[in-house]
Each structure stands twice: as C-alpha cells, then as structure tokens.
C-alpha cells in the first residue's frame, strides 16, 4: 500500500511535542501501555516460573528459617531453584508425550481436511458456480451466526449412531465443514485472474485437475492462513474432542485423549497435583507460542483482514 508509513502517524505530530503537557501525556501513555503489556504477559511468566517450584513451595511459599528459631513461609514469584528436571519428570511421569502425539494426529488430519474439503467447496462456489450455488452459500453464511454449542447434542447423538465415537474421524472431518474457511477461500478464489484458469481449461484440464494443479498452488497465501488457523484451532479445541475421546483407548490400551481433554480430566478427577497441572498448562501452551513466533506477522495481519476473531 502506498503511503503506509504516513498512515502509521497518529493524532500527535512532531511539532505537538513542543508543549510540555503533550510530552507529559505521552509519557503517561507509554507508561500505561507498558503496564498493559505486563498484564498481558505476566500470567505466562507466572505459570512458567511456578512450574519450577515443587508442590510445597508452590502452596506455601518460600521457606525462611527465622533467627529466633522456627520457620516462616513467604509467597514469592521466583522459584527457589531452577531445575528443568522437574518439568521433565512431570512430562515422563504423566506420560504427557502420549497426549501430545494424539493432539498432533488430530491436528495433522484436520489440516488436510480443512484444506481439501473447504477448498473444493469454495472453488465450486467461487469459480464453477453451478445452478443453485447461491442457496448453498446462503446456508453456509447462515450457519455462521449460530453457536456451535446449539447443535452439539444432536451432533454427538449422530456421531454415536454411526459408530464414530472413540475415533479421530469426527474431529478430522468436522474441520472440513468450517464456514469461516470456506468464506476465506471463496474470497481469495474470486480474486484469482480468469486468464490463468481459462488457458488451463483450454489445455484440457478437468475441474478437479484444475483445482489441484492450478488453483491450489496459486493460493499459497490463503492456504498458509488456513493452515495456521486450523493448527491453532484444533490444538485448542476442547468440547467435541472431550465428548468423542473421553475414555477412548488405542488398541494397546493407551488413552486417545488430546492435550486439552487431558487438562480438563485432571481437574475433574483429582489425580494430579497442582504443580503437575501447572506444568501441563505450560506444555499445552508451548506449541501455540512457537506457532505465533514463526508466523507472527501473518497472524496479526489476517485478524484485521478477516475482521473475525479466532
């Protein structure tokens, strides 16, 4: 965009800063923003530091021997010692890697399903436009306004009825019916140049080949956005995975629960100590943090373009 630099300017102009009142307000503004930044980030710092404590230190605070004898406990942000082994021990004892692996399987299948099913549907709506496609578009847009919880109970009944409960299938395929991704794809496909399509068609490409050989590779920017959203969304998803995978087992007897489902079972079953749950929270937020570090620009820019919160 031309003049982007200029649009970064706010209300204040360099020459406003000659006034002391503006200088002071600006200093206050920065101070306030730094405070807001601390509020936004402190919980993460707190939980990571808390994970280094042991259960007693976490509950009672740091032990202080008093000079006149006896002890006092003082709550403190920093742990007494930084032992990474404590995290590793929880990771191994709770076999957390199992839940990580389950989550990764769910994420991988969901990403493929998100790209293929939503992409093909949007391709039909944006490019092929068969008779009646407007009705489908209306139904898809319409379903966007209703909360997913509305249809959760009947969906769960149907999943059970066709015997897909206790498998990953409902989680994989469910992402293939995302109104949000279809709309994102449709908007992108509509902007693709017709000339490319037409020449590919003249070369004798069928619709399906056209999608996979031309449309899909040309849509890398939006594919990336949907991949990022789908990874983050599936990793964080909880309610349907909980209903479907609760108590489900792999053939060998290992649980099929995802990381989020495990986190929820911890609190309802009292089988983990506070500090184990704290460490599990840290494990569960590491992948989204990595994803954010890798794709920070893309994520923040697209939030604005789509105008819809994740």
């Amino acid at each position: 965009m031309a003049g982007k630099k200029n649009n970064e300017l706010g209300v204040l102009r360099p020459y406003d800063f000659v006034k002391p009142s503006v200088k002071i307000s600006y200093a206050l503004l920065i101070a306030f923003l730094v405070l807001a930044l601390l509020v936004a980030l402190m919980p993460f710092v707190w939980v990571m530091l808390a994970g280094f404590k042991d259960q007693r230190e976490f509950i009672r605070g740091l032990r202080h021997a008093l000079p006149e004898g006896g002890v006092r406990y003082i709550p403190r942000l920093l742990p007494e010692v930084f032992l990474l082994e404590r995290y590793i021990k929880t990771w191994n004892d709770t076999r957390f890697y199992r839940y990580y692996l389950n989550s990764l399987i769910v994420v991988a299948g969901s990403v493929i399903s998100a790209l293929v099913f939503n992409g093909l549907l949007a391709y039909g709506l944006a490019q092929l436009k068969p008779k009646g496609h407007k009705l489908v578009l209306g139904l898809i847009m319409g379903s966007m306004m209703l909360p997913a919880t509305t249809s959760l109970a009947p969906l769960f009944v149907n999943i059970n009825r066709i015997g897909l409960s206790g498998t990953f299938w409902p989680l994989w395929l469910g992402v293939g019916a995302s109104a949000f991704y279809v709309i994102l794809y449709k908007n992108f496909f509509e902007a693709l140049p017709d000339s490319v399509m037409e020449s590919a068609r003249l070369d004798g490409c069928g619709n399906l080949a056209l999608f996979f050989r031309i449309v899909f590779p040309l849509s890398m920017p939006i594919n990336m956005v949907i991949i990022i959203y789908a990874i983050n969304g599936t990793w964080s998803d909880f309610l349907l995975p909980y209903l479907v995978l609760n108590n489900a087992k792999w053939p060998g007897g290992a649980p099929m629960e995802t990381v989020m489902v495990r986190l929820f079972s911890y609190q309802s079953s009292n089988q983990a100590t506070d500090i184990d749950i704290i460490r599990a929270i840290v494990f569960s937020i590491i992948p989204p943090i990595l994803l954010f570090i890798l794709f920070q620009r893309r994520i923040t820019e697209n939030i604005v373009a789509s105008g819809i919160k994740g």
Binding site: N7, V11, P75, L139, T150, S151
Partner: protein, 305 residues
C-alpha cells in the same frame, strides 16, 4: 463445438453442456456439502425437532409440542438465573471489555517507537488455547496465598480475597479474564480502522487551529464510531455464547451466580442426559442471536465481509 465454458449460450446443445458442467461442479462440491450436512445443517434441524419431542437417552420418544419450552420458561429456575447472568455478563463486558481494546488501540496508534512490540505483546493471549488460559487464571485467582493475584495483593498490602466464590465478584472477574484474552484481537481491528483515517483530515484540522484534544474529539472518535458499533454487537453475540469460563472456573457457581445459557445447554444434554430440554434452550438462544445478527448486518452493510 462450444467448449469455452464460462459464457456458454443456452442453445439446445449449450443447455445440455451446461447441465453436464453443473453436474461436474456439484460432484466437486459434494464431499464438502456432505460434511456440512452431517456436522452443521442436520444437527441444527435435529435440535429444532428434538425441542418439540420427549427424548430418552438418545432416542426420540413422543411429540410433546411446546412442553419443553413451557418447562424451560416457567418451571426451570436455572434458566431465568442464566438469563439474568447473561445480562450481567453483557453489562460488565460493555463496561470493561468494550472500552479496553478501543483505548488500547488509540494509545498504541500514538506510539512513535515499539509499536509492533505493543501490538504483538497485547495480542499474544488471544492465540492461547482457551481452556489452558482459563486453568491458568483459575490458579491466579485462587483464594489462598498461592494464587498469583492474591500474592500481588498481599505485596501491595491488601488482604487476600476469595474471588471466584464471591457471588458479586464472580461475573466481573470472568469478564476481566475474557477481556484479557480477547482485547488484543479487537484492538488490532480498531488499529486498522485508525490507520485508514485520511491524514489530510488531520492536516486540515491543524491548519484550522485544532489542538490535540480537538483532533481526537472531532476526528478520531467520530471515525471510530461506526467500527465501534459493529464490534459492540459482535461482542454481545460472543457474550451470549460464554461456556468454558464458568464451566471450568466455577462450575456455574457459587450457587448458580455465574451459570451461562450455553452452560445450561451443556448441563441438560451431558449431565442430566435430557437432549430435548438442551435443544429447546439452544433454539431460544439461537433466535436471540439471529435477531442480533440481523441488526449487525443492517448496521455493517456498506462494508463487505
């Protein structure tokens, strides 16, 4: 032969061609349509149907007309409690959740250095898994000294408080947590709005002698008004769907002081095993949401999504 596709004339030959082409297109869309049918449309229709029937476990037994609705509206005290709570959630989220992102956006927009640091940092809570952050906040708001918030309070010389078991504090506390998580994303949308204000308007105002406050009052705020109105409705729609927060933090307590409508749906369906009552509540909520969405659409019409 006419095989260029896009603008085929409906000649006798062409209409046959068109039909064949449409069929191919529908085939390509079929897998997606099947998934939408199974995961979205059919469950929605079943929910409406179930709300007029009696269910036993997963079986629909007999048609009961509007009995379920009458029960929910007249005999289920939890429902009106949840409606009342939703009203309180909305009120608090207007007081806290609406103002915070707007103020943050205006302030971040003014920064001359470190803008991307503020943007990124304030947005970070948004991409965290909802469930994990709610657990995190549950620890932070613990009643004893191990909770992070009480730890801070004690350092500052206040007495520790039992945040989540206090009926008059629990909803504001939940709204604070939701704002902490959601404000960054809304802020980015406001920021984009602020960046789209034509700079010449400011220049002209400055030439006319407008001071800093004058510029904010007469240009920035009016320009944000439309966006604010739109985001306000989106926020109310989101508040109607609160589920995880009360479910994990309080279980709806103390004494139903924080129970939400969607949580009632969950309770009826998966704790009491009464799918028909769950469906009738979700149909009622959906009607309100459809009304709100229609208002939203009529307001934000000029801007295509």
């Amino acid at each position: 032969m006419n095989h260029t596709g896009w603008g085929a004339r409906p000649t006798r030959d062409g209409s046959w061609h068109r039909l064949k082409k449409d069929l191919g297109a529908w085939l390509i869309m079929l897998p997606g349509l099947a998934l939408f049918t199974f995961f979205v449309w059919l469950p929605l229709l079943s929910a409406i149907r179930m709300s007029f029937y009696k269910t036993e476990g997963m079986r629909i037994t007999e048609f009961v007309g509007t009995y379920n609705y009458a029960f929910i509206l007249y005999k289920d005290p939890d429902f009106w409690r949840a409606v009342q709570n939703t009203f309180m959630y909305t009120l608090w989220s207007l007081l806290i959740g609406f103002v915070v992102p707007m103020a943050l956006a205006v302030m971040v927009h003014e920064t001359r250095r470190g803008k991307s640091l503020f943007r990124t940092g304030l947005y970070l809570p948004n991409i965290m898994p909802a469930l994990a952050t709610i657990f995190l906040w549950k620890f932070l708001f613990r009643a004893d000294g191990s909770g992070g918030v009480n730890m801070l309070f004690q350092q500052l010389g206040f007495a520790p408080t039992s945040w989540l078991s206090n009926a008059s504090l629990v909803i504001p506390v939940i709204v604070v947590i939701m704002t902490w998580k959601g404000a960054g994303a809304t802020m980015l949308i406001y920021l984009a709005g602020l960046q789209s204000i034509n700079q010449e308007i400011y220049e002209a105002a400055i030439i006319d002698g407008a001071g800093v406050w004058g510029r904010i009052k007469h240009i920035t705020i009016p320009q944000m008004y439309n966006l604010g109105r739109t985001l306000l409705i989106l926020q109310v729609i989101a508040v109607f769907q609160i589920l995880y927060e009360p479910m994990v933090l309080t279980g709806g307590g103390p004494n139903n002081a924080s129970v939400s409508l969607m949580q009632l749906v969950y309770r009826h369906a998966f704790e009491y095993g009464d799918y028909s009552k769950a469906s009738s509540i979700s149909v009622l909520v959906s009607l309100v949401l459809i009304a709100l969405t229609l208002v939203y659409n009529s307001i934000s019409r000029p801007k295509e999504v």
